[in-house]
Amino acid sequence: MNRTRMLMTAVTTSLMLTGTLPVPEAVVPAFGQTAPQPDESWKTDPQVQEAANSIKPEIPCWQHSQTQEEIVKAFPQFDAAMVQRSLKLLVYKGDLKQSGDGSKENPFVYSRVCGGAD
C-alpha cells in the first residue's frame, strides 16, 4: 500500500497545514521517499516531435490497425527507436490508440482514435 500511503500522507499534510485536520503530535513527513523517475524526454524532444509530425498526417488514411513494425517500415527516414518514441508521444497526445503489451507474442498495435468525449 505504498502509493496509497504516500498519497494519503500528502493529502493529510495539506489538510493539516490549512487547518482542516488537527495536527497529531508527530506528523509523518511526506518527503524523502523519492522513487526513480521514468525517462520522459520523449514528451519534449524536438526530434521525436518532428517524427510524430511526419507520422500524424498518415493516420487518417489508415484502413486498419498498424503494428509498430509496419509503421517503422513505412517511415524509413526514422530509426525504430525514434518511431517507437514518436508513437508513444502520439498516444500521449490522444492522436492514436494503442493495444498489445509490447511483448513478442502481443506486440503494440496502433489505430485511429474515434472520439474525445467519455
Binding site: 500500500m1 505504498n2 502509493r3 496509497t4 504516500m6 498519497l7 494519503m8 500528502a10 493529502v11 493529510t12 499534510t13 495539506s14 489538510l15 497545514l17 490549512t18 482542516t20 485536520l21 511526506a30 521514468p38 514528451k43 516531435q49 487518417p60 508513444k88 498516444v91 500521449y92 497526445k93 490522444g94 492514436l96 490508440k97 494503442q98 493495444s99 498489445g100 503489451d101 503494440f108 485511429r112 482514435v113 474515434c114 472520439g115 474525445g116 468525449a117 467519455d118
Partner: protein, 418 residues
C-alpha cells in the same frame, strides 16, 4: 427464436426509419439502440438519490482538493502543466457544469464506478434520443425535464463565463462549442448543445479550425472567443491543436489556452477544476479518508460506504477481485479485471494509458442479463449512468456491453414501466 429476432429487427428498423435522421452521426446504425429497458419509478428515484448523494460527497471533496499541495495533486496523476490552472474556478459557474456518474447496480444497491466530470459524452442519447424512444413506446420518460435542466445549467455557465471575461450585460459575447473535427459523434453532440444554446447564440467550430495568437483564441471568421464549451479533454489541449495567427506558436501541452483562462480572456466549460473531480485517484482519497475516519462527517461517511467502492493506488490488502484502471483513462481503455489469485480474467483491447498511474477498485459484477440484439439474444452487462447538471441529478441513461464497458456497447434507452 427466429420470429422473435425478426420482430426485434423490424421494430428497430421502424424506429430508426421514423426518427434516425434527427441524430445523424450519433447512432451508428438502426441497431445501435436496444429495445427500451423499463425501470420502476422507485428504481429511477434510487438512481437519482445515489447521484445526489455522490454529488454531496464530491462537493466536500472539491473543498479538499482546493487545499491540496501541488505535490499531492501530482501524486493523484495530475500532469504538471495543468497545476497552475487546474484549481481555478469561474465565479458563478459550477465546478462541473455537465458531469456523469457511471454506476453499477449490485445486490447492495448502486455503486459508483467513476465520475466523468471533464468531458462526459452520451448527452444526445440520454436526453433527445431517450425522449423520442419513450414517446414512441408510449411510456413515461424518466428524463422528461432533462433537456430543460441541461439548458438551464448551460445558460448559467455561459452567463458566468461571459462575466468572467469582463463582458458587460448586453455586450456581444462569442460563444463557441468545439470538438475534434475528425470525430463525428462528438461533433453531433457539440451541434446539439449549440441548438440548446441558441439564445446566445452559440456556434460550432472544429478545434482544428480555431485560430490562436498571444491575445486569444479565435473562431474561423477571426472573432475572438469569449466562452468555449469543449468536447475535448483538458489534458490534451495544447498550442499545436490550433491554427497560429501571424507569428508561429511553440508546441506546448496546456499552453496558451490555459493562460487565457488564468488571465480571464477565455472561459471554458467544463471549467478546469472539473479535471480534478474526474481523477479516479480522488475516489481513492475519498475512500481512504472514509476508512481512517478523517475529514468526512458521520452522515457523509455513511453515504461513502453505501455508494462508493474500496479504491486504492495499490492492489487491495484483502484477497478480493479488483479492477485496475488508469486515473485519467477513457472509454474502457487500459482496464483489467484481476482475480484474488492475481490472474487476469478480463481486459480491454486497448492499452493506450498503460503509462498512467493506476487505481485498484474492488470488483463488482455488472449484473449480466440476456437482451435481444440484432445478432440474437446476448448476455450483456449494464452500466447505469446519471448526469449531474450544475449540481442537479438529471438524465438517466444506460449502456449494455461486455464486462468492461467500452465504445462498442449498445445504448439502452430507459423508460418508466410501472
Amino acid at each position: 427464436m427466429d420470429a422473435l429476432l425478426r420482430e426485434y429487427r423490424r421494430s428497430r428498423l421502424k424506429f430508426f426509419a421514423r426518427y434516425g435522421a434527427r441524430w445523424p452521426e450519433t447512432l451508428a446504425d438502426e441497431f445501435d439502440l436496444l429495445a427500451p429497458c423499463e425501470l420502476g419509478r422507485a428504481e429511477a428515484d434510487e438512481i437519482l438519490n445515489a447521484t445526489a448523494s455522490l454529488a454531496r460527497i464530491y462537493g466536500r471533496a472539491a473543498q479538499l482538493l482546493r487545499r491540496l499541495s501541488d505535490g499531492a495533486l501530482l501524486q493523484m496523476g495530475v500532469p504538471g502543466y495543468l497545476l497552475p490552472t487546474v484549481r481555478r474556478t469561474i465565479p458563478g459557474m459550477a465546478d462541473c457544469v455537465i458531469g456523469r456518474f457511471d454506476l453499477a447496480r449490485t445486490e447492495h444497491g448502486y455503486k459508483l464506478l467513476e465520475f466523468n466530470a471533464d468531458v462526459p459524452g452520451f448527452l444526445v442519447e440520454a436526453f433527445s434520443v431517450n425522449t423520442a424512444v419513450c414517446r414512441h413506446a408510449g411510456k413515461e420518460d424518466p428524463n422528461e425535464c432533462g433537456e430543460r435542466d441541461l439548458v438551464q445549467a448551460l445558460t448559467e455557465a455561459v452567463q458566468a463565463g461571459i462575466k468572467y471575461v469582463g463582458r458587460i450585460e448586453g455586450e456581444h459575447a462569442n460563444v463557441v462549442v468545439t470538438s475534434g473535427g475528425r470525430y463525428p459523434r462528438d461533433r453531433a453532440m457539440a451541434e446539439y448543445l449549440c441548438r440548446l444554446l441558441e439564445a446566445f447564440p452559440a456556434q460550432y467550430a472544429p478545434i482544428e479550425s480555431l485560430g490562436i495568437d498571444a491575445g486569444g483564441l479565435y473562431d474561423p471568421s477571426g472573432s475572438r472567443i469569449h466562452v468555449l464549451y469543449r468536447f475535448f479533454r483538458l489534458q490534451l489541449i495544447r498550442n499545436e491543436l490550433f491554427r497560429p495567427r501571424g507569428t508561429s506558436v511553440e508546441p506546448e501541452m496546456g499552453g496558451l489556452v490555459l493562460r487565457f483562462v488564468e488571465r480571464r480572456r477565455l472561459a471554458i466549460i467544463n471549467p478546469p477544476f472539473s479535471f480534478l473531480l474526474q481523477s479516479k485517484a480522488l475516489q481513492a482519497v475519498i475512500w481512504n479518508l472514509f476508512e481512517s475516519g478523517q475529514y468526512f462527517a458521520e452522515d457523509e461517511r455513511r453515504l461513502i460506504e453505501r455508494y462508493m467502492l474500496p479504491t486504492y493506488l495499490d492492489p487491495p490488502p484483502d484477497n478480493t477481485a479488483y479492477v485496475v484502471k488508469p486515473v485519467y483513462g477513457a472509454e474502457g481503455d487500459t482496464v483489467k479485471v484481476v482475480t484474488p489469485a492475481g490472474g487476469v480474467v478480463g481486459q480491454s483491447v486497448y492499452t493506450s494509458y498503460s503509462d498512467q498511474l493506476m487505481v485498484y477498485q474492488k470488483y463488482v459484477d455488472l449484473m449480466p442479463s440476456e437482451m435481444m440484439t440484432e445478432y440474437g439474444p446476448r448476455t450483456l452487462h449494464v452500466v447505469t449512468s446519471c448526469f449531474l447538471l450544475a449540481g442537479k441529478p438529471s438524465g438517466i441513461c444506460m449502456r449494455a456491453g461486455e464486462a468492461i464497458t467500452d465504445e462498442s456497447a449498445w445504448v439502452l434507452p430507459v423508460c418508466i414501466g410501472c
